[in-house]
Symmetry: C2
Subunit: 259 residues, 2 copies
């Protein structure tokens, strides 16, 4: 199994076409896609291309956002943006707000990111020129992954899988790891029911977080800044030829004992 950090992806701006940028970068790097390759893409460049930037100066925090902001000691406008992206607040502490994102993920700050969003530039892009902006997750990362997959297939004639990667903290364990917030072309949650161990007994674990493991592997090369190397080509991952989405990785409330 080999992972290539794809060089030459420029800083992405709203309206850019990540599929086109990836095809160009592959050509420049002399890399040919192969069938069953997985293209791992940081959610940040997908979000930026989709224009998922919110200028904090444009946000008017509600009374609830101001109350929560006082408790977690964050900018009330940022808290309003986080609440707008969330189904509910899961945990609240000074410095920390963990929510159930509208897409179902439990994560800090609803995945809203201040880093690597270009600060105000006097003569910069008008979208980010008038004050600090924050970056939301893609509107529908599974759909973004499917679209990227379709674009890459059309441009290269090769059927690849796509995983859109974000970094999440975790219950019980320290440190962030790469997780899949979007996926297409592979069984994001791979069902192993029916498989047997070496001695013919059914396996105890019945499902593997395949797309999350790929996201963690790719994260090793993306780094946290995730814009030096926003795209990692993962070759040689064994997986069964089934479709799935990152939504399959969201634990339904009735199965989540730590809600």
């Amino acid at each position: 199994m080999t992972l290539f950090a794809l060089p030459g992806i420029p800083l992405v701006k709203p309206g850019d076409d990540p599929g086109g940028l990836i095809v160009e970068a592959l050509e420049t790097a002399g890399l040919m896609l192969e069938s069953r390759d997985v293209v791992a893409v940081t959610s940040k460049i997908v979000s930026k291309a989709e224009g998922r930037l919110v200028r904090l100066a444009d946000v008017y925090p509600s009374a609830r956002a101001r109350r929560i902001a006082a408790r977690c000691r964050k900018d009330p406008r940022l808290v309003q943006v986080i609440l707008d992206e969330s189904q509910k607040v899961s945990r609240l502490r000074p410095g920390l707000i963990i929510v159930k994102h509208r897409l179902g993920f439990v994560c800090a700050n609803a995945g809203v990111d201040r880093s690597n969003v270009q600060p105000p530039q006097p003569d910069g892009d008008p979208v980010v020129a008038c004050g600090e902006s924050v970056l939301l997750l893609p509107a529908n990362p599974d759909r973004s992954a499917a679209k990227l997959r379709q674009q890459l297939g059309a441009a290269t004639g090769v059927d690849v899988a796509v995983v859109i990667v974000d970094s999440h903290g975790r219950a019980h364990r320290m440190g962030t790891v790469g997780v899949a917030v979007g996926a297409a072309g592979l069984p994001a949650l791979e069902d192993w029911r029916g498989r047997q161990d070496l001695f013919g007994r059914p396996l105890e674990h019945t499902a593997v977080g395949l797309a999350d493991q790929i996201a963690s592997a790719a994260s090793l090369l993306m780094g946290q800044a995730a814009e030096g190397t926003p795209v990692v080509l993962v070759r040689g991952v064994p997986f069964s030829p089934r479709e799935g989405t990152a939504a399959d990785l969201v634990r339904p409330p009735e199965l989540d004992l730590y809600s």
Copy 2:
């Protein structure tokens, strides 16, 4: 970054020397270790070599184990083994027991495994000949990792890192992923404080679960059965030259909002 599934590791028995088996398999495969390689090893072969097998026929369940077994509908002897490996029970449901392992990990069944433990053989190894056995995690996986690292260094003259891998389920997300239960020779939890994003702002996430991401990457090649390919060589992971252990990945109770 390249991952090699090391072929030719035989089924491990109590008393075997995993370090020696890995060195032999590397030679047979014609693979030379390189400085900063990470050798990822499934916890199962380390446990087996350490003789961490318990015959259920030898276990006398306590009243508490029987009470808990009735609630989670598991073999009371297995529950006793799980309790013996645990600090406390975290969640209990029919079919499921999640504990805080004595090493601090929160995981199902205290990592006690029934799969790939050889069933009774009429003329087999006396250790497993008299009834079904289960396999515990290594006694001290960080120490096992340090020992393996030292052995590999002595045999090859190359300083490598070692990660001992188990598969854990997770709060909030479906599917198991590879995690590090032991580590040596690398910053298992990599501190990114002080690093800046592309625009010079401090990064929001301050620590990355490096060894967990490596474990997840290696798991992609180990498969769930994890004895066809119990050792994966991971080459080209960027990490800072600092020591750490898997214990660094255990979230302290006061920082765990989902205990």
